[in-house]
Symmetry: C2
Subunit: 344 residues, 2 copies
């Protein structure tokens, strides 16, 4: 079993979490569940609120190994009444619920609006109505910037907000709600705008959520990995364990309150090169180029690389896991646990 070494937390940060009651919404999903594993390892008292929607990556197996340490509340995250009975117990809430598929958001904007906006209103309204003022860490997305780059230039937090898909609009609205409730009602919040996050516990049921996971599945099945239009778009990839470290630091450090932070990776890479790495690590699969589908061109963002100097400066975070190391662990995870994610 391969393991990765994510960005290490300071002793102070670790102590902050020991025995601390922490709520993770969407904790059965990809990023949420990896965060739960990290929290459980440090010794936090974790509660997960999740509606176990398989379409959005919810998977009971994602808590395999930590079930005994985690309280699970199976409920719709948009049910404000449920949330009103829950939020008061937690000063630290990781709000990880979300729908991430760009294509799905274009096909059904109403569903995306529900999951990426209305659900967050429910959490924030629940806090307001019970008069509770926790810190809420939100998972934003590079999609809020849209097609930020012409040439490759790292995108920082003051880049224009110009989403090119429904998902980006709704994620930005969701983020604005967090800061609004902070301002109006005295919660604290911050947002990490994530880029391509990869690693174990990602759903493998669809090609629409997380392109790296889908590449890994195709490779592990010994198939041709289909790459649209040459695959020369640059992406920066963060291993989910590094992302979990960033989230933990953002919650711990009061300097994060009211701030947005981009994540990013040291070396942005073309999708083609990422696929080649996956095929090499998996020792299976091959690359197949296919034409870029017409209906997806409008929501393609081109090159993206996040400028992560702000989070580095303020929270001291850096991406620690190289793509090869991270992919090796990811491939190993799915080799061992494939049956819990897809049928070959």
């Amino acid at each position: 079993m391969k393991v990765v070494e994510p960005f290490p937390l300071s002793d102070a940060a670790r102590s902050f979490y020991v025995q601390r009651p922490v709520l993770v919404t969407g904790g059965l999903g990809f990023i949420g569940s990896n965060l739960v594993h990290a929290l459980a390892k440090i010794g936090a008292r974790v509660t997960v609120l999740d509606n176990l929607n398989p379409k959005y990556g919810g998977n009971q197996f994602n808590l395999n190994g930590v079930e005994g340490q985690v309280e699970l509340i199976n409920a719709d995250q948009g049910e404000e009444k449920v949330l009103q009975n829950v939020v008061g117990r937690f000063d630290s809430i990781f709000n990880m619920v979300g729908q991430v598929s760009h294509i799905d958001s274009m096909e059904d904007p109403y569903a995306d609006l529900y999951t990426n906006v209305r659900v967050h209103i429910a959490l924030l309204e629940a806090c307001r109505k019970v008069g509770h003022k926790p810190k809420v860490v939100f998972a934003g997305t590079r999609g809020q910037y849209g097609r930020a780059n012409g040439a490759l230039k790292r995108v920082n937090e003051s880049a224009p907000i110009a989403p090119v898909d429904v998902n980006g609009v709704n994620k930005h609205a969701g983020e604005m709600y967090h800061f609004l409730y902070s301002h109006a009602y005295g919660l604290r919040s911050c947002s990490l705008r994530l880029t391509n996050t990869y690693g174990p516990r990602h759903t493998m049921k669809t090609s629409r959520q997380g392109v790296i996971a889908w590449f890994v599945r195709q490779a592990l099945d010994g198939q041709e990995v289909q790459l649209f239009g040459g695959g020369d778009q640059l992406r920066d990839c963060n291993h989910v364990a590094d992302v979990a470290s960033a989230l933990l630091l953002a919650m711990f450090n009061p300097a994060a309150d009211g701030e947005v932070f981009n994540l990013g990776s040291e070396e942005p890479m073309s999708l083609l090169r990422i696929v080649e790495r996956i095929v090499a690590v998996a020792e299976k699969g091959s690359v197949k180029h296919i034409p870029y589908p017409e209906h997806l061109k409008a929501i393609e963002i081109g090159d993206y690389a996040g400028d992560y100097s702000k989070i580095q400066k303020i929270l001291g975070w850096l991406p620690s896991i190289s793509l090869d190391t991270g992919l090796a662990e990811m491939v190993d995870y799915y080799r061992r646990n494939r049956d819990h994610y897809w049928r070959a």
Copy 2:
């Protein structure tokens, strides 16, 4: 009967509208109905889609005098199926539906989300699903900027988007949706970010929508006009007939496509001075200062004055109606038609 002379349209702009089928959503509301009057006067073939929600200012009397020239579709603007049967007939759609109360938006963010986001998705989705690509003019708000100013400096369109109330978040999301659908599906759209709009046909049922209208009602009832906390916040006021001219120019001129424009007035004025003008024009009422309510402080935006040089430069629009002239017409309108708006 007093009349105002709004910013005049060129002959080319007027010709554009003669016999043109035009859809106005929310056309029974304040701004929508004034726009309908302006369109009817030019000779456009106007269709109004409105659910006649009195809470949001819908009032059948607002079309008094032009009923015969207007087709009225009484339906929920969020009913995509209805919209799918309607939008194909119109290359020009003024999307004037909206909820404008800041306080209501804070008390019930779900309702505001419905009216200011979901309803717009329904219109845009209807266009997408029937493959129709009209031009859609959207009514944005200065509330998208939030508390933009420290000292008085005119706010231009590149000021940060930082809403301090739910309404501002949702209005911004609604605007982003318009530009997203333009980009992804080939509609054309633009947004006018309105400031304090006043004039006839505004709802008078509540203090929560449009402070100037409420001041006018109190004055006409011979009451004390209650002013929070000194009333020294600066506001710029646009008469709704000038706003209608701006909307008509924005639809007519292709240079507006894909753009946002602030409106504004020549001389920003304190709320106190505005109330004093209302009392003087109405020759009734008086000013009463009361303490600023605690629960409203968080959503108070301080001074605001829009920089309207962009719309002046690109569309040639200017505010034409002075506050005194505009208030005189407004007061005259409500004197004559009070029973259709409130019981004294």
